[in-house]
Symmetry: C2
Subunit: 257 residues, 2 copies
Amino acid sequence: MRRGNGVTVWSQIAAQLRIEIDSGRTPPGTKLPPEADLAQHFGVNRHTVRRALEELARNRLIRIEHGRGSFVAEPVLDYQINRRPRFSEWVRRHNREPLGEVLSLREIDLAELAEADIIADALSLPSGEAVIELERLGKADDRPIALSRHIFPARRHPGLLKALAAHKTITAALYSIGITDYVRLRSRISARMPTPREAGLLALEAGAPVLQSENLNITEAEIPLELCFVIYPATRVALIVEPSGSSDLDSDHRMVG
Amino acid sequence: MRRGNGVTVWSQIAAQLRIEIDSGRTPPGTKLPPEADLAQHFGVNRHTVRRALEELARNRLIRIEHGRGSFVAEPVLDYQINRRPRFSEWVRRHNREPLGEVLSLREIDLAELAEADIIADALSLPSGEAVIELERLGKADDRPIALSRHIFPARRHPGLLKALAAHKTITAALYSIGITDYVRLRSRISARMPTPREAGLLALEAGAPVLQSENLNITEAEIPLELCFVIYPATRVALIVEPSGSSDLDSDHRMVG
DNA sequence: CAAAATTTGTGCGTATGTATG
DNA sequence: ACATACATACGCACAAATTTT
């Protein structure tokens, strides 16, 4: 621990513990040494260690339990919902290695899908249309964190099926057929219990729910491009929203009594 | 059914069925009559009825199941997350009657709460501070739809405890002590299984998960005002997000292969 | 079941370095 | 140069929660 160089001792300790936890050498659930031991190990007062642990708890890296000890927490990937969501960018920001795995890719008649009405509405398609369905499992450091189904209008984008099969990323495939940019228009977030298949793919513990997000992406020209159903393991992912449009101009009062 | 007056017949039928469902006379799970019967009843062709049912399915009022029939869906309240969230406004927009019920209101030392670190961080409070905790159950037409815990810094707003006890709405209480406006800075959305107490209060079916939202509200002067933990029954509420900030300037590619 | 040991939580006093006026 | 205020870090003591004996 270097002192008097402008960086506080407690933040140096916090940083060191963070590296230890992030590296994976101390897996989730591990009990940290008692504060007294840590203090001795780092050659500082227990208060100083406590300040470091407090910091880690604020960032949800550990859980401090009175009388029991401090424990390494299950890492949660905070996913900030913005207009240009990119899977691997998000994962890398958390210092994890992204990996996408294609489970299936096919062209199919819209009417054969269970959510036909919702898809037709969102993508402004007649009900008898052909769509491209891509199913994908997203991982971070080999831990599954997202199971997604992407639905594209097939006739509106000839050659997209081949492009998706040929390119490693959706963005690249779209680019190759002339769609250089697209943004997220809206997300609908819910939660439910997973099906057995989903639980298996996402390696979920029994009784663990999933976050479900239904996203509509549009092109630069504001034409509906893709409807995307994603589920996340709720214990490993949280969604962050930073509202910006006010939209509620008329005033109302929250009920209390 | 009036024809030739500019309003399509199918939308008249859809509107009539919607009223029937919204009124509660046909509770969730009820099987609608077969399309042929409905066609005869309304004196129209089956195609016209199908068009009406399609519309209702898009709006998630019913579920159409191939070969089985159509069923009244559990009503889902879409909650659009914006900068000025107001509970009763939201509920009324869905033509339901809002009601707020105070479960508890007290001043307590921050350190006694389980989420002390997270609250201290979000509200920029030292750990030994006093906070006001308000717990509230929100209902729509007597169906519980939200269980919230509001945490305010007590010292920063003297008189707030009394104000909250005296006024019927949080907004009114805040107004009375000089806080005329506040907005939502960020929400953190997750999902989990409810505790037995939560399941009881929200009248949840066994095994049903809840959506959890942790919200930070700030004053006009951008001072942290309130941290608010809300849980929603996932079967009855969905959150809608319309992203606006791009924030992702560097380009990345979504993984596919 | 009770006592002891372990571990985190809190309070107070002191010393030191740093920014402010 | 000096006084003041503030944050950091240390030392010690005891309280509270939990586990072990």
